[in-house]
Symmetry: C2
Subunit: 89 residues, 2 copies
């Protein structure tokens, strides 16, 4: 008895959690740096706070410019920014 190659492969991949896309899941970035494989952003904060875009539509990306509000109104979405502040000692 031999396991066919495609069965062995299936059994092997079952050891890992398969990714199940959510219904309706598609591209969420239609604007920012579309020519690169992945838009990861490094940023520094020294004091106070910064407001970061999570809608991928800001004209000041990676910072928020409020466009999420228009996006939410147009699509029924509920996204908003990330506000990071430096904790005082």
């Amino acid at each position: 008895f031999q396991v066919a190659p495609h069965q062995a492969s299936r059994a092997s991949s079952a050891l890992f959690a398969e990714y199940e896309p959510i219904e309706g899941e598609g591209k969420i970035n239609l604007k920012i740096d579309l020519d690169i494989p992945k838009v990861a952003t490094m940023d520094e904060i020294e004091k106070g706070k910064k407001v970061y875009c999570r809608c991928w539509l800001s004209g000041t990306f990676p910072l928020c410019d409020g466009t999420h509000q228009k996006h939410n109104e147009a699509t029924g979405d509920n996204v908003g920014p990330l506000i990071v502040s430096v904790k005082k000692d």
Copy 2:
């Protein structure tokens, strides 16, 4: 000569930039706090760095758990996290 009400309204709204959704723009949050109108997140960082989710799929939202990579593979998207570090004096 009188401006009809709908014309006056149109002229007035033209003073503001109309929002033009991008082709294919739709909901980007299919998972996080869908019962609230807007998911804005406040977070503090004291030292070092934090890695924040921008794909709206992380199991550790608002922090990144790497799910963007599977999302990118499944959809052809190119999103990635935001990494914020505290700048040393």
